[in-house]
Amino acid sequence: MGARPHLSPSLAALMSAAAALAPEAHAQTATGAETDSRVSYRFNDYSEDSLAPGPHLGDPERYRVLSQQFQLATRAGSESAIDVSATHEVMSGSSPWYLLRGPDNRPIQVMSGATIQEHRNEVRASWTQGAGTSSSTTWSASYSQERDYRATALGVERSVPLGDALTLGYGGSFSHDLIDPFEAEKYDRVRHEDKNSASAFGSLAWVIDRASVLQTGLQLNVEHGYLSDPYKLVSVGSSLVDDLRPDRRVQAAWLARYRRAFSAADAALHVNYRYAQDNWGIVSHTVEAAWFQTLPSRWELVPSLRYYSQQQARFYAPYFVDAGSHNFYSSDYRLGTFGALSASFNLRKRIGKWEFSGGVERYHAATDYALGGADAVVPGVVSYTRAFIGLDYLLQ
């Protein structure tokens, strides 16, 4: 009498009628419907590929981050829900510091010394009114703290039904970050800086038919304050200067998300597209597709693919011949032109009230993956592998 893959209606009716008299049998095979109230734990192992072979100075072993996530999501009363989560990260490894022009014009990547171990802790709480209905309001707050960076953010999201087929979404957030670079004296870095950012979004979701829904939305994000990277330097002529970026950034992102259920296959297809553009000149396209396949005896397989391509910031270059007309310069690889292909595969298995999950993501970036081909070289472009295991306990 192994786990029945299929509980026939007549058997379910019999078993539910006998529930009071045969509680033991009932409890043993309780299937436990999907429930929003759960306690979750995830362990993530993120490790970047070491530096590509080529001239470099310093430790090529790049970043390794082990992070643990804890979450409690539960109903509070019949209409609202609370979601509290905490993240603890331990980071180690070196990261690109600056680039030197090599004798044959090939860039030499200088890596910063491997940091011993840095910790980052973040707590996040949200309260949703009208949970599970199309008309809801979610208030959220988060605080992230590491040795050199503290960020506080508040947000609100509202969902309003417009008639039977449309749902309007809107909201915004505000974040205040404090930056206190370590070893500021030793490396003559900025001592204490801060940054404020505000975002607003609007979305419209449309129920196309009983199995598919499409959502389109726009998010505007304005950042003001210290936006440079205090740990990175830039070769300008023969000297090394601090990474210097504008103190304002306005970014607009337009997203479209499509969900389609396939009840015969007991699966669902997710397709997302994002176009983003900012006043630093970075334009990016992102396409993502995921297939959620439910299998008998409560297994779920989720393969997914993602393609990302970005165009470099105006003030990005591996190195600058001379100061010239530039008033901003950065050689941070994250501002260069590159594309990235990533594939991930997640698994989930439900046994009674427990849910075991795991998965792996491989992200590979390269300058020639970019739409429209490569621009200036980006020696520090990063690829990584991320794996996670998770355990959920379903409340109620």
Partner: protein, 311 residues
């Protein structure tokens, strides 16, 4: 108590009689625990027999009958209420065929008399059945028609088997099986993990087992027309009466089902018998539980039939 060895502990077999049928408890444990288990099981089965047997005139079911005759309602305890709720659900799901108020009808079909009752007697008995006429608002029960009787035969024996298994587990028995007249409830598989072998009696010749079924957990129930049967002018009349027609069911000779509990197996096997030869088999196949049907000519069918066919 007969002991045989299977794995480290001995298997103790304790036979006793209750609920009008031969019962047996098999326990793989040390002698004292087996002794205590036997006492606990017999006490529980006898308690339920005294409480729910419609053969005895001092049972709670008889008291309910008396209240029916007096036209009053009666307050019932939680266990009875759960059994009534379960029976009410089965009544709804079987379209009225599973009816515990058919007591008057089972009385009219006196199978020892070898005589088919008069049509008028059957009609009179049928007029005093019908769960839909009962006023049941837990914990108050009122049988509106004087002479109406409850017959929990299709539920109590299986419920008792499950109860016995639960009580054995509670006193520490891990490996054993309870058999109340063919309705089996597993306490736990053998110490080495192997399943118990349960034999299903042949309807025509109850001494000989027609099928051997492996039971590692849950329960097995068999309902059939072989124990109490009457043959008049070559026709078989079984003790399973269709309350809608008033006549015994023309159905399989026996239906056996395996389920998570003996109670569910019993409900399913009774349904199979009540729905009869045509829709009974289809209903059992859609149900999805392992089952075995044997017709009057001894042909076996159902998911458990194939396994035995090869053996």
């Amino acid at each position: 108590m007969v002991s045989a060895t299977h794995g480290s502990d001995e298997i103790h077999r304790i036979k006793f009689s209750s609920m009008g049928c031969p019962c047996e408890l098999q326990v793989e444990a040390d002698a004292q625990l087996a002794e205590r288990a036997a006492a606990v099981v017999q006490a529980e089965v006898d308690r339920l027999d005294r409480k729910y047997s419609h053969y005895r005139d001092d049972s709670f079911v008889a008291m309910i009958g008396a209240s029916a005759d007096a036209g009053e309602s009666i307050v019932v305890d939680n266990e009875t209420a759960d059994l009534l709720d379960f029976s009410a659900a089965l009544h709804a799901q079987s379209g009225g065929k599973f009816d515990i108020t058919a007591g008057a009808l089972t009385r009219v079909w006196d199978l020892q008399s070898d005589r088919v009752p008069e049509a008028s007697a059957i009609e009179h008995a049928r007029s005093r059945c019908g769960w839909q006429r009962v006023e049941w608002a837990r914990p108050n029960l009122r049988l509106p028609v004087p002479g109406m009787r409850l017959d929990l035969g299709g539920v109590v024996k299986e419920y008792a088997a499950d109860r016995a298994a639960v009580l054995c587990r509670q006193i520490g028995v891990e490996h054993g099986i309870v058999d109340l007249g063919g309705d089996l409830a597993v306490i736990g598989a053998h110490a080495d993990g192997s399943a118990w072998l349960a034999g299903i009696k042949a309807p025509r010749d109850t001494r000989q087992a027609i099928a051997q079924i492996e039971l590692a957990r849950g329960g097995l129930a068999t309902s059939g027309d072989y124990e109490r049967v009457m043959i008049v002018d070559g026709r078989r009349y079984s003790h399973i009466v269709d309350p809608l027609s008033g006549y015994p069911v023309a159905s399989f000779a026996s239906v056996s089902v395996v389920a998570d509990s003996c109670l569910i197996a019993g409900a399913a096997s009774t349904f199979g018998m009540l729905l009869g030869l045509d829709s009974g088999y289809a209903w059992l196949r859609d149900l999805g539980l392992p089952f075995l049907c044997i017709d009057a000519d001894g042909n076996a069918s159902g998911t458990l039939a194939r396994e035995n066919a090869e053996a």
